[in-house]
């Protein structure tokens, strides 16, 4: 019953909620980012990071460092935190935590299939996969020739199996079909996650609905913008939008017929929560749209921590950590390529 979760939540989730809030306290602050932005070399970055929670992960790396090493080690910390929480969780929290990683699984599947299409080596591709999205038998994705084989050989044993019912065709895999496959899978995943959270009820359902709805709407806008000018038909585009969120169903109708960014802006301005995102951009500009979306996402995920006794804090923490890793990657790249003036273009402060 909504409002009375405080009575029973701590039986199974109290310890892990306290742990995840402790992790949140370790996210980098504005002063950390200011220090990092003023670094001259990657070794300076390593030195500044050694005072934060990333210290133990980076201290054994020999110089010269690469930006990919920094990102890899920071991701390793996220994976360690996640696994520590997952192994201590009971149902339904353990299922909830597993749902968070299905998005990464989808990305890994698409990465390997695309890489195989372009004749890359499987081992090389496996190293680039996100560690949170690994599953057994992921390497056998390389032998599949079309989607039906992909499903039958590998994916039927994974948690992604139920998401494939909408996109099994006998067509061969090529770049366009793979992107459509990725978006269809992600749509099915978001809807499944949304239904699961609704079933959990209470504060989890309310907060996760808001966070997932924003995710669905953001993807709808990105799909629209990316498919302007391609051969994706309006009906196909319409099929890639999720069945929930603020834009459902009328916004989707309007987005499906958009042909340029100003029309997308006109659609979004009808929805008050999203007006502020486009207000930051002047007409005709779309480069800063990603950053505006990330800022809005970070703001909403930070708000999830305001309430106690629900599961959305775990989801919010994972996303905030991923944003932090993106920030670190951008800062490292800017420092490595000596373009420190562009550092603030893409860093989103969390606190």
């Amino acid at each position: 019953m909504y409002g009375f979760e405080a009575l029973t939540f701590n039986i199974h989730g109290g310890y892990l909620e306290a742990i995840v809030r402790g992790h949140r306290a370790g996210l980098l602050t504005t002063s950390d980012y200011n220090n990092l932005c003023q670094c001259e070399t990657l070794d300076d970055i390593k030195m500044h990071l050694s005072a934060t929670e990333y210290g133990p992960y980076l201290q054994n790396e020999p110089s010269p460092l690469h930006t990919t090493t920094i990102v890899e080690k920071c991701t390793l910390k996220l994976v360690d935190d996640y696994k520590h929480m997952l192994c201590q969780a009971t149902e339904p929290l353990s299922t909830f935590l597993e749902y968070i990683t299905y998005g990464h699984m989808i990305d890994n599947v698409v990465l390997i299939v695309t890489g195989t299409l372009h004749e890359r080596d499987v081992q090389e591709l496996l190293e680039k996969c996100h560690p949170l999205g690994m599953f057994d038998s992921i390497a056998t994705l390389a032998v599949a020739q079309n989607m039906r084989e992909l499903y039958r050989l590998v994916l039927v044993d994974t948690p992604l199996a139920p998401y494939f019912s909408e996109c099994i065709t006998s067509e061969d895999l090529d770049d366009m079909n793979i992107e459509i496959m990725r978006n269809t899978l992600y749509k099915a995943y978001l809807e499944d996650f949304y239904r699961f959270c609704q079933k959990l009820g209470g504060a989890t359902a309310e907060i996760m609905s808001d966070l997932l709805a924003f995710e669905a709407d953001r993807r709808a806008v990105n799909i629209t913008i990316n498919s302007i000018g391609t051969e994706l038909t309006r009906d196909d585009r319409r099929k890639l939008y999720s069945n929930f969120g603020l834009f459902y169903p009328y916004g989707h109708e309007e987005l499906a017929v958009c042909e340029d960014i100003d029309q997308v802006r006109a659609v979004m301005e009808k929805y008050p929560p999203y007006q502020s995102i486009f207000a930051k951009l002047s007409y005709g500009e779309s480069q800063m749209l990603d950053k505006a979306f990330y800022e809005e996402e970070v703001k909403r995920h930070c708000l999830a921590f305001e309430q106690q006794f629900h599961y959305a804090v775990f989801f919010a923490y994972m996303r905030l950590r991923e944003q932090e890793i993106r920030n670190l990657m951008w800062i490292s790249e800017c420092v490595a390529q000596n373009q420190k003036s562009r550092v603030h273009d893409s860093v989103v402060f969390i606190f």
């Binding site: 701590n10 109290g14 310890y15 892990l16 909620e17 306290a18 306290a25």
Partner: protein, 183 residues
């Protein structure tokens, strides 16, 4: 007069007849059981709510452990109130001769002890819950920002006053539990 009133009540409906026939000692015993049992339930509930958050938060912020044990102590106090009232109530029980077991004064004494037990039991149940939930939030906030501890402690103090209210009223109720004299 009072006996005929009781007989009239006993014939008016079967539920009234059943309730009037229950011995006042049953009511007293149940009251004493509720006063200690439900109070301890409230205290235990509050302690586990606080304790699980405190343990998890103390991993990243070990400094909070000693201060936040105050929340656990407030919850424990609730159980102690229950024990005290149960002991007081059981000293109020007296043996009466068989003829006056169902006399109105005996019934009144039995009901008074029953009511006192319920008051204390349920007041301590909700007080323990309240202090427990606040204690959990206090531990988590203290781990993030140590200036918040004292302010949230004030809320806990107000919460634990609820148990005291229950104890006061319960003791006042039990003061009227006078059984008829043996003559």
């Amino acid at each position: 007069m009072s006996a005929s009133a009781a007989i009239i009540a006993a014939h008016s409906s079967s539920w009234a007849a059943a309730l009037v026939k229950i011995s006042p000692y049953t009511f007293s015993a149940i009251g004493i059981a509720i006063s200690i049992g439900v109070s301890v339930l409230g205290a235990a509930w509050g302690i586990y709510i606080t304790g699980s958050s405190l343990i998890g938060a103390a991993i990243k912020a070990p400094r909070i452990t000693s201060k936040n044990l105050i929340s656990v102590i407030f919850c424990e106090a609730v159980a102690i109130y229950g024990v005290i009232v149960a002991i007081i109530l059981q000293t109020k029980l007296e043996a009466v001769p068989k003829a006056s077991i169902y006399a109105p004064e005996s019934m009144r004494a039995g009901y008074a002890i029953f009511a006192s037990g319920i008051i204390v039991g349920f007041a301590n149940l909700v007080c323990g819950l309240c202090v427990g939930i606040i204690g959990s939030s206090c531990a988590l906030s203290d781990a993030q920002n140590s200036t918040l501890f004292v302010k949230i402690l004030v809320i806990e103090i107000f919460g634990s006053a609820l148990g005291l209210f229950g104890v006061i009223v319960g003791i006042i109720m039990s003061a009227q539990a006078t059984w008829p004299s043996k003559v």
